[in-house]
């Protein structure tokens, strides 16, 4: 028994319908795969972006918000860590390196972050792509994706909104002196300036004892620690590189329990976030698979309906002596060819969908999201295909049980 010649002629004569069925299954699989691969890719990218941040100190509040604001530069209003804490941490032996993170201003949608010079070179572990690190109050280093060239000048705007809906900071201008190497994180779209300048243009002094008018004397203001002012201004967050792992836990434990601070390990918060999202992700995966299965079932119903139009063909096969098993196998095989082709095409299309979504996610988050179809996606596609092949038995059985004489008379 070899129904292949019949199946091929059947698919050939109904190639329009077969193509639509195959494409519907392919799109269903592709969307599922694209989204699934994307989720994994975003996690990888988020982990990679958080990697340089060992410990973040912030004001008490949401740890997730602190993580999003400091690591991923998501604009939000968060409380300030007292300047005294910054001063204290500068002197603590458990701290190998630290940088305040002063958010709140932007230029052309690029967030301006006040830091110490070493932050731009990851404490001298990474060089700049071009130029040098800022050394004065009015100098800036830009991220790799910021559309400013070395030598360009710009005026910061208060607030987070692109287009400068906020008040420009008077006559203060920055001049770009360097460009960071690509970090594959939202920091590629950031502008780094001295924390002292952020304090200054917000009317909080410079954090150093020798304050005064700096217009025309910007080079005279010291940059970086120690901050010697009687009252050092607060900062939204402090990125800390502890000297040892033990120190990291000591600092976190101590700073977390103070009334004015909290401290987080970004990786730990991400892990908790993933655990929370993981449940939602599993539910989404089930819904996604169920949706795909519904699409496949709808497609199979269409296939079943088209099989009804082929009743006379099946009846002719039977009248010519084809066993009922031949008809059953022929119907199932025709559906199977379309399902398998749809699933394989869907995996290929899924790769494209994942790539497109990656580009969108990268543009929107600043993370470098690279989604690839993994064994997990292949397994899910295989599962869907297997379910479809089992369901395809239904139209096959309906055709197989048909009364030959009735079908021949129609």
């Amino acid at each position: 028994m070899n129904p292949v010649p019949y199946v091929l002629s059947d698919l050939r004569s109904g190639r329009g319908t077969a193509a639509v069925v195959t494409l519907l299954i392919a799109f269903s699989v592709a969307i599922g795969i694209g989204v699934s691969a994307q989720e994994l890719a975003v996690r990888r990218a988020a982990n990679a972006a958080a990697d340089p941040f060992d410990l973040i100190v912030g004001a008490p509040g949401s740890q997730t918000q602190l993580l999003l604001s400091s690591v991923y530069l998501q604009p939000s209003a968060i409380g300030l860590v007292p300047g005294s804490v910054l001063q204290e941490l500068t002197e603590r032996p458990e701290v190998a390196f630290l940088s305040p993170l002063g958010f709140g201003d932007q230029y052309a949608g690029y967030p301006i972050v006040g830091v110490v010079p070493g932050f731009a070179t990851r404490n001298n572990r990474a060089g700049l792509a071009d130029g040098r690190v800022f050394a004065a109050l009015d100098e800036a280093v830009v991220g790799s994706r910021v559309r400013l060239d070395i030598g360009d000048e710009f005026t910061p705007v208060h607030g987070f909104l692109e287009g400068g809906i906020g008040s420009p900071h008077g006559e203060f201008t920055y001049r770009v002196v360097g460009r960071m190497a690509t970090r594959n994180s939202p920091w590629d779209a950031a502008i780094l300036v001295a924390i002292e300048s952020v304090w200054f243009i917000h009317g909080m002094g410079t954090g150093h004892a020798e304050d005064g008018s700096i217009f025309g004397h910007a080079a005279a203001v010291p940059i970086g620690p120690p901050w010697t002012a009687v009252e050092v201004p607060g900062v939204p967050a402090i990125a800390v590189e502890p000297a040892t792992i033990r120190d990291a836990y000591v600092l976190r434990s101590e700073l977390r329990n103070r009334p004015t601070t909290t401290a987080i390990f970004p990786a730990e918060v991400l892990f908790e976030l993933y655990a929370l999202l993981g449940d939602a992700s599993a539910i989404l995966a089930v819904f996604s698979l169920a949706t795909q299965l519904l699409v496949v079932m709808a497609v199979l119903v269409v296939v079943g309906l088209t099989q009804r139009h082929k009743r006379s063909s099946f009846a002719v096969l039977r009248a010519l002596g084809a066993p009922s098993g031949y008809v059953l196998l022929a119907v199932w095989l025709a559906v199977a060819v379309q399902v398998v082709a749809g699933v394989l095409l869907g995996v290929g299309l899924g790769q494209i969908v994942a790539w497109v979504l990656s580009r969108i996610a990268s543009d929107q988050t600043g993370l470098t999201v690279v989604a690839t179809v993994s064994a997990r996606e292949w397994r899910r596609a295989g599962l869907l295909g297997a379910a479809a092949l089992v369901l395809a038995v239904i139209p096959a059985i309906i055709s197989y049980r048909d009364q030959v004489a009735d079908a021949l008379r129609r």
Partner: protein
């Protein structure tokens, strides 16, 4: 082998709940090599009788025998195998498979599986060893020279010729034809009728034809007239005009 129907009756339930008697105690004996025409008005039970004789339908009462084999006591799968081994079928609307060439259509029954039949030297395979070669030869016999194109692009007469070639693939002992000329114009009908009778004679096959076509009926050895499910008459050697009208 002789095909015999003894006291066969079959009725169908109508959509309105009534019962339609399609066959009523039909008795028929068809000797090997006979050309039998079955005629009668529409709805008289001609096609039902053809299906009962070919094992597609099983009568509620009565027996159909092929030689000593009782078709009516066979399971459906066995009757499928019987048709594959012994029978060929020609339909009114050709019922060829679109998307397939003439040669593919003719050779298709060879893909159904092996079927054996009783021969003078025991059981023999009904299917040809090289089905496409045989299909090509049969198409040549029925006058189809272009064997590669899709059957849907052929004329109705050509399609029925392909269908006749398909019925001959397994060298059938009996050919069933259901209104084989009804969908054709007069000229094509005459050609196809002559062809069908000719190839059946060449093959030494019994030919059982349901038809209203007087010219075709005129080429039959016998005509069984059926009305309201009953074989009303048997006419030997019809003269053509008026038969079956």
């Amino acid at each position: 082998m002789t095909l015999t129907a003894t006291d066969c009756s079959l009725s169908f339930r109508q959509p309105d709940g009534s019962t339609l008697t399609a066959l009523n105690d039909v008795n028929l004996e068809v000797e090997p090599g006979t050309r039998l025409g079955i005629s009668g008005p529409s709805g008289s039970g001609k096609t039902t009788l053809l299906y009962v004789l070919s094992g597609i339908l099983r009568p509620e009462r009565g027996v159909v025998r092929w030689g000593f084999d009782e078709l009516t006591s066979m399971r459906e799968a066995a009757r499928d195998r019987w048709r594959l081994a012994y029978a060929g079928f020609v339909f009114q609307d050709f019922l060829l498979f679109p998307g397939m060439s003439p040669i593919g259509n003719v050779a298709l029954p060879a893909s159904f599986g092996t079927a054996e039949r009783a021969g003078s030297r025991g059981r023999i395979h009904a299917q040809p060893d090289r089905p496409r070669d045989r299909a090509a030869a049969l198409l040549e016999r029925v006058g189809i020279s272009d064997r590669g194109r899709d059957v849907t692009s052929m004329s109705r007469g050509e399609r029925q010729r392909v269908a006749i070639a398909r019925a001959l693939l397994s060298r059938p002992a009996v050919i069933f034809a259901d209104e084989p000329t009804a969908s054709l114009d007069r000229s094509s009908a005459a050609d196809v009728g002559r062809l069908l009778v000719g190839v059946a004679a060449e093959a030494g096959a019994t030919l059982i034809v349901v038809t209203h076509d007087p010219d075709l009926l005129a080429q039959m050895d016998r005509v069984a007239a059926i009305e309201a499910g009953s074989l009303r008459d048997r006419v030997a050697r019809p003269t053509g005009e008026g038969v079956g009208r």
